[in-house]
């Protein structure tokens, strides 16, 4: 009768260690996913900002629209992570205004095709990033992750606010 608890205790300890290690690995993977999706999203946003600046140099475009676009693009580039989504949304708005100028689109089809391509990629990038961030945050808020500090020193992923249900939009 005495041997039973003696064997049980190390088994339980081993199981707990295994469970905690596996949980930490899972969280680590989620962090990695968020890092990757952010790096890719950031790269696309940068490309869009530089394309926006390129658009302002097109001969024949409206000076007022150009001014708006230039400032929006610069703000998007300069914004830190907490202001980023707001600045990018402003740039989206400015680009949408320009996109409606039918004669300009017809005059420079290549530039606008590039813009449309970036917009498509942006939608996917945003939805994947938002999904990753919410998964990581949801996991970190669980009691076991907080009690045992399984997140280590990894920073809490920042929510990217704009276009909340962007997933539904990707279909169209």
């Amino acid at each position: 009768m005495m041997e039973f608890p003696i064997l049980l205790i190390p088994t339980v300890i081993l199981l707990i260690i295994w469970y905690l290690t596996a949980s930490a690995t899972r969280l680590d993977r989620l962090h990695q996913r968020v890092e990757t999706s952010w790096a890719n999203l950031d790269a696309i946003l940068q490309r869009r900002a530089s394309l926006a600046l390129q658009l302002t140099h097109l001969p024949g475009s409206d000076p007022a629209a150009n001014l708006l676009l230039t400032s929006a693009a610069h703000q998007a580039r300069a914004a830190d992570i907490s202001e980023r989504s707001e600045a990018e949304s402003a740039l989206t708005g400015a680009l949408l205004l320009l996109r409606q100028e039918q004669w300009l689109v017809e005059k420079y089809p290549e530039v606008f095709a590039e813009l449309d391509h970036l917009t498509e990629r942006l939608k996917i990038g945003i939805s994947l990033h938002v999904e990753g961030v919410s998964a990581a945050r949801a996991r970190r808020s669980k009691a076991i992750y907080r009690i045992f500090r399984l997140a280590g020193r990894a920073p809490l992923p920042v929510k990217y606010a704009f276009e909340d249900d962007s997933l539904a939009e990707v279909q169209r």
Binding site: R26, L30, T36, S127, L128, L167, A168, V170, Q171
Partner: protein, 390 residues
């Protein structure tokens, strides 16, 4: 880009998922990417595509109203391991990773840029809930999830509590649009049906029952059926005079399917459920044939609530008969559906769908990242696996 695709189902048994993988692979190869497909095979010599590698013989299990041929176990596991180790993939695209087969195996072994596509739509199933805790840590490794329709996305949300990007299945729109009709099949008032008619969920019985009414209203109406199944069994309950109106063509290849769609006056999809996308409807639209389909969620979504085809109440034979008669008699209506369908079907062409999937690949991957085996990524497990590495 080096792309690895994994099929959960036997490659030499025709099926929607396999066809999807084959076409996606061919599309990317045409674009200059390097593609390798790993799939189970009941008969390895039956594989004609040079980009497909067999992972061994599958076992048959009943799944979602049909028989699925899947593969797992230690031998398959070591095949997958070898394939990933030798593949040097930039991205690994796993199809249907939530069912117990090759894709799930690959997902648990690999690490890095993993993408999963979820094809199935299933109602809430207790069995799936029971295994969800075991699936979750594996499925979680996918950097990006794709669902083929809103219904597939919803299934994923309910069963595995995870979201997905919706990208529809692809078709070769021009192939169906430019196919030639077969003079032997092209007669007035021909109704077409394609699929495994012996499977109850395909709803062939509903169509057979409706046929009697249709024959009354339109004396020279006919039914063309393509697809594998037991003919004698299927028409057992049908009145002998009606039988002469039905022609069974057996299993047909893609060329015959395309010319069948071009030869008929209306395509009918009476499926009673279990469908998550309805690729045949996209193909029918591309070929310009008007559609009558049951109002199950997948078809309702694909046909945008009846904008691109007539919907009838699921399993309601008199409603089906009415809709078919209506479409056969109203030429203007048939023509407007036909024209709208051809235009709409371009959205499902591989040129469009392939680019969307590629965008997901690009977002799932960090720069210069490769797919690795799990053991390579974990320094401490290297100690145990050093001996048996190639």
């Amino acid at each position: 880009m080096k792309i690895g695709l994994v099929s959960p189902y036997a490659w030499d048994v025709p099926g929607g998922v396999q066809a999807h993988i084959r076409d996606l692979a061919s599309h990317y190869i045409m674009q200059g990417h390097q593609v390798s497909v790993l799939a189970p095979a009941t008969d390895e010599s039956a594989i004609v595509e040079n980009f497909v590698i067999s992972a061994g013989r599958p076992v048959a299990i009943p799944y979602n109203g049909a028989v699925a041929r899947v593969l797992f176990g230690p031998v398959a596991s070591s095949r997958v391991r070898q394939w990933i180790a030798g593949g040097d993939f930039d991205v690994l695209h796993l199809h249907e990773p939530a069912i117990p087969s090759l894709s799930l195996l690959a997902c648990s072994i690999a690490e890095g840029p993993l993408v999963g596509t979820f094809h199935a739509a299933a109602p809430r199933q207790k069995a799936t809930f029971a295994i969800a805790p075991f699936l979750e840590p594996v499925i979680e490794k996918l950097r990006a999830r794709i669902a083929v329709s809103d219904i597939a996305r919803e299934t994923l949300r309910i069963h595995l509590d995870t979201d997905a990007v919706v990208i529809p299945n692809g078709i070769s729109a021009t192939f169906y649009e430019t196919a030639e009709p077969n003079p032997a099949w092209k007669k007035d008032f021909t109704i077409g049906f394609i699929g495994r008619f012996s499977e109850p969920r395909k709803g062939f019985d509903v169509l057979l029952e409706a046929l009697a009414r249709i024959a009354q209203a339109i004396p020279n109406s006919r039914l063309l059926v393509a697809g594998p199944g037991e003919v004698v069994e299927a028409i057992e309950g049908v009145d002998p005079p009606l039988r002469s109106r039905i022609t069974f063509l057996g299993r047909v290849d893609d060329d015959a399917k395309a010319s069948l769609l071009k030869s008929i006056n209306v395509y009918v999809a009476p499926n009673t459920g279990g469908e998550s996308f309805g690729i045949i409807l996209a193909e029918a639209m591309a070929s310009g044939v008007p559609i009558v389909a049951s109002d199950i969620p997948a078809f309702k979504q694909l046909l945008e609530d009846g904008k691109y085809g007539l919907l009838f109440e699921n399993e309601n034979t008199s409603d089906l008969a009415e809709k078919i008669i209506h479409l056969l008699q109203d030429e203007a209506l048939a023509k407007s559906y036909s024209e709208a369908g051809v235009e709409y079907a371009k959205r499902f062409d591989w040129s469009q769908v392939g680019e969307e999937v590629m965008n997901v690949y690009l977002h799932a991957r960090a720069e210069d990242e490769k797919v690795t085996l799990l053991s390579e990524a974990r320094p401490w497990s290297r100690l145990f696996t050093r001996g048996n590495k190639e």
